[in-house]
Symmetry: D2
Subunit: 419 residues, 4 copies
């Protein structure tokens, strides 16, 4: 029975479990329920830039019966080891989703496992559901980093999910057990926030023909509300990583990864940058509708790709572009820590060695306009490509080039004709 794998009944004598705890309704009920099942629950929250009041979360967790509360500050690591590699890869899942949640999950799970090891807990728990992607991202990471870990996933345990078939039962349980619930009306969608993005899904978003209400968005102004004049900034990269950003004409420079991302989010958000609305494919085989706002990430991606135009070899770029969908798929599906991701990253990192330089972006009501780029590592040579000068290029070479390339096509064409 799967029951034996998740149910508390069979818990070993060491009843310690590290729960990924957000402070929201689901994980609060789960925390309380685990305690009621006899678990020794360590509430764990990762700070991935989600702008949350961790003191409140701590207090609530302890009130619900957690043995302790731990907060891991993962903000800087999130940028350097997750967001930046994704930007270096130009990674967009199914062409559009910049992977904000997908990137955070393995990091959260990594620190959760580290905590479990530190505290000697044989088990970890999460509040992700059985239909979603996050369960996979959490659990594959758990298994890679601690192969023998026991995973408690109440939303896949009939003892739990049959008791709580819907939100109503969760609220009733909360009420009965004095679990404080934010008094704000429940929003008809669920969301996930971190330094890279806020994502929205479920609830009224489940109708893909329906436009999301504008009030849903939290990180970005709508293009309509954004300022009526351009904001121009410059982002500088070294080996594919953003190392400095500033607004042109201003003297404040942002160089530390976390503050640089925050700065881009703030200025991008104010200018209406980075909303995406799409139907996407979940790893479990379902299609799902997601809405995202990723201001800083969108700007970084635009700037990075543009700089690659100047500095990346053509064939390397085309090979990488062919493999990018696989990189994005692996990140999306939860394979951040996997041999195949290491394989791809070895090549992708090699490609970035010269992606160094500066790109200027003008932001205006949702638009990112590239206004200039330059690089000490440029492969562009204006004399060479100029239509007005020879630049060392002999036009007759093109004749041989074309004739040689045509040979194969001519042989094929002649066969077609005689066929």
């Amino acid at each position: 029975m799967p029951k034996t794998k998740t149910a508390p009944a069979s818990a070993p004598s060491n009843k310690k479990v590290v729960l990924a705890y957000s402070g929201g309704l689901d994980t609060s009920v789960i925390l309380h329920w685990l305690v009621a099942q006899g678990y020794d629950v360590v509430a764990y929250t990762a700070d991935v830039g989600q702008e949350e009041d961790f003191a409140v979360a701590r207090e609530k967790a302890l009130a619900l019966g957690a043995a302790s509360f731990h907060r891991a500050d993962c903000k800087e690591e999130f940028v350097t080891d997750f967001i930046f590699p994704a930007i270096r890869a130009n990674a967009a899942y199914e062409g559009r989703y910049l992977l904000g949640t997908s990137l955070a999950r393995p990091l959260i799970a990594k620190h959760q496992i580290a905590l479990a090891r530190r505290l000697g807990a044989p088990a970890v728990a999460h509040g992700a559901t059985g239909k979603g992607n996050d369960q996979v991202r959490f659990e594959l990471t758990y298994k890679v980093l601690m192969p023998d870990v026991r995973i408690i996933a109440p939303w896949k345990d009939p003892d739990f999910y049959e008791r709580f078939p819907g939100r109503r039962e969760l609220l009733a349980y909360a009420k009965k057990n004095r679990i404080p619930v934010k008094t704000t009306a429940a929003k008809p969608w669920s969301s996930d926030a971190n330094l890279m993005h806020i994502s929205y899904e479920a609830g009224e978003l489940e109708d893909p023909a329906r436009r999301p209400r504008d009030s849903m968005f939290q990180l970005t102004a709508s293009p309509q509300e954004a300022p009526a004049r351009e904001t121009e900034l410059q982002v500088e990269f070294k080996r594919g990583n953003a190392v400095r950003a500033h607004i042109l004409g201003q003297e404040r420079f942002y160089t530390r990864p976390y503050e640089l991302m925050q700065f881009l989010n703030q200025v991008g958000g104010a200018n209406g940058i980075g909303r995406v609305d799409m139907v996407e494919d979940r790893y479990v085989g379902l299609k799902s509708r997601g809405v995202y706002e990723t201001p800083g990430g969108t700007m970084l991606m635009a700037a990075h790709r543009d700089l690659e135009g100047l500095t990346l070899d053509r064939e390397v770029m085309h090979l990488r572009d062919m493999l990018m969908p696989r990189f994005a798929e692996l990140a999306y599906n939860g394979y951040w820590y996997s041999p195949e991701m290491e394989f791809l990253r070895a090549a992708f990192d090699k490609a970035q060695e010269h992606v160094t330089g500066a790109v200027r972006l003008a932001l205006y009501k949702g638009n990112i306009v590239i206004t200039g780029r330059e690089s000490p590592e440029s492969l562009y040579d204006s004399a060479q490509s100029s239509m007005d000068e020879a630049g060392g290029f002999d036009p007759r070479d093109s004749e041989g080039f074309i004739r040689t390339n045509a040979l194969r096509l001519i042989n094929w064409s002649r066969r077609q004709r005689r066929g």
Copy 2:
């Protein structure tokens, strides 16, 4: 000597040559020069939607000594057989360029060869330079469609290009030979227009750090100038092809491919849609800076990709996305007519069989916002993906799914640990 391949001296007794003639300075000088070399020049212009006065072009060609002038109306074919296949492929070269010129060249060359065959001309000529991509697109198409054709490319013939090292010499020749030249001040860039786009390159654009002047753009308003309120429209697709478009609330429907594209260009252009500025890789090995405005194409691509989210199988989409860069590269490099393109198109067309449905787009100052999509061929099932109902999905299946997928990773992880 290459000379023997291009120079008029060795022309056969049939001196008829079909010249791709635009009416501009270069091809006018070329026309006159070919006539002076003893050629029997047929001036040929393809109408690919470039909004030109063909009567003026005809008159000028005949005045310059052309034996005749032929205009091929390729507008509808351009949309159905070139633009639509590219949209179906979501084709963007190096992530951004929607291939406007790349798509038109093989079509222009195809009709040029048809004309050469009809008129019994053994030769064709074009005015593309030896550093660019267009020479390849023209010449590979010529060779595939008429393997024995003789190609005259004056910009690769030293007799020509040594005589005309720059614009100044062309203008002097024009003046001396009474070739009318548009009196407007020469623009410091060159451009190419068709129904899909206008491209700009060269001249002052050769500095990639320099933003193009706003006055350069002809098809699109700048986002700043665009209307201050949204225009919402709906585009309907059948098997990946746009078959109907209209502005919501208006009764005018556009269904014929050419007028549909014109409509999208007009409404997209008015709303500041589709400008791209990039450094790209030419096939001859140079990097080059290009600026594009592709209003309708950009909208079609956005709508098409969105509809794929609803209707395309995940694995098919991911495979296609992996191959898309190759499709774009082949189109860009001039291999529209090639066995490898046929190979890719067989698969890509298979993929589009169910990409049928409607997408709504709100345009606003450069933004395309997807506001809804629906399809009779949808693979999305809201009950199935809903977070609020089971929808036939057993959450415990996910346990087996994840555990099975984790097995390989666990084995790998254990080896890493013992290593």
Copy 3:
């Protein structure tokens, strides 16, 4: 509980189930056990060329309590719709396994579902285990072809597998229930036979350092035992499919797909062709050791690939070669009937349009030596490629070709040097 999905207890009132029945120990016990659980069992066997006595199987099935026995003759279809497409793709899983079992499973499942539909059975059953690939191949095919089918897989039902933890318990049950078991000593491996191959795994083969005993092989002589002189034959292809084969100097021609395969198996087997021994990756995440003998398939693959050298365009071949591993993976993993396979096959079939011609093979003690090939669709032109004549090729064209291709590399090299 998984029990509710597989256990007979919850069987609907229509208790009819079509069991893929081989006549061996496992499926005989399963048949008997299903009957004991109150099922109305239809015993079904597909003839995929496995050289079995179907009359004996029928008799045994009926004796065990089957309501009826059905044999589907799938031999010709196996060749034309499964083996030939795999050969056309040059499909080899992990470089070596020619997919014999992988190809047969979807075909067997297809006819099993057809029978279930015909007989109004709501359920199908198979005897594949929970660790192997065949369960996936069967079940994915079942689900695609009859999405609502109920699948009974005793080896994944604790009621069954806890009762029969090993071969000993199966034999005891057989004895007790008078199920006839072949009196031959159990071989220390399991095998699967069809027209394409015999595969061996498990038992003593589970030690990858141990060489299989020579007596294990049934389809092929060892190279040592094979005749001491060459047998030369010719295989002719049309659009990638073998259409005729004969031994040179003999007048007997084999043209029907099934007899052609039989002929190749016979002559190849006699000459020691087609043994493979490898460790491979199962879809469920395990590595497994497999040994195969595929005489005819190996010869067809060698001949087909050779003919492609003469007739297939280079770029098409290279693209296809890049995608072949995916084709093989899909076939191996059970995705024969899937949209992504249709996507690939559309392209692969396009590629084969001109793979027509004849290849001569000399067989000798395990070797396949290509001794000649010719084709009316050849892209090879001996004059063109000759080192002794110009053949229309201007050597100076190569200069332009190389110089143009070098341009990009020179730019890259110069950057490396200044870096």
Copy 4:
């Protein structure tokens, strides 16, 4: 005129040129002719294991007028930096050609450029023809390693090739100028030998329907002539590189790369291993017939691939297999030194980190039979994959795995049915 690019007339005042000199007819005539044109010719020969008498070559070169003769010993480097990386990649061009010549050319060119730099020579020369692949491999390497080098390629210089349209004129020139020519009857093919292989093409091989005469082969016995009993050996790898080999039962171990390759060639050649006969695609767009004998390389490839079965992660292997054709294509086309090759190699090398272990091979009359493999880095777990024990695998997990994977297919299937 191309003439200005290759012709001696325009040679700069520094008339020193390093000629890749083989001692054969072509490069001997070229050497003499270059001297006659006023060049200061340095004869250069790379020892890549081709078993040549370099003293004879030196004497001949000096007699022909060379200013000096230089021999570079590249044997060890050839194995470690060229052959081994190709084996690690399982690289086979168009499925069969193990790239023997392709691998040697960039190495030869590298040392030629190093010599040119050392001697202050502004030019290098080679004797490759304008139709072949070697010209590209030489010249791209020259350009990458010394972008400003002047390349003299007489077979693409009309002054040379119009004077020597065929072998007859070369022989006449040799006779007239007392250039010694081997008195053996000219063989009706040309060949290229190095430690990896001997290749044969041209002459009577230009008829792809004709089997090569057995007397052509020099490195390998025919299977018929090979010993009538097996020779069994073991090859050990570390990180994908062969580090030790020996014949089972013998005490002689081969560990240095060069002697290890020699040993494998000797024992493989004696046992008839590694002949290939194919029609392949040259980079210049022609198809060409090539015959190869690669005894040691074929054995290494077989052993390496087999060890990967035991030690390489599935997804890494499948990704690498997808990219292998590109690696082979790049090597074949002359892009050994290129950014795209560096990109691929970064990933490929990552993949090899655990390809460590031993493989046993039995050689018998052309056959390589894998007789066992073992590794301290094995990912194979016999308990886990055993059909006889659970090995930690819960069969019910497969149910969830299959059902989850089936979900997408069911949705697709249902759409097909309603369509």
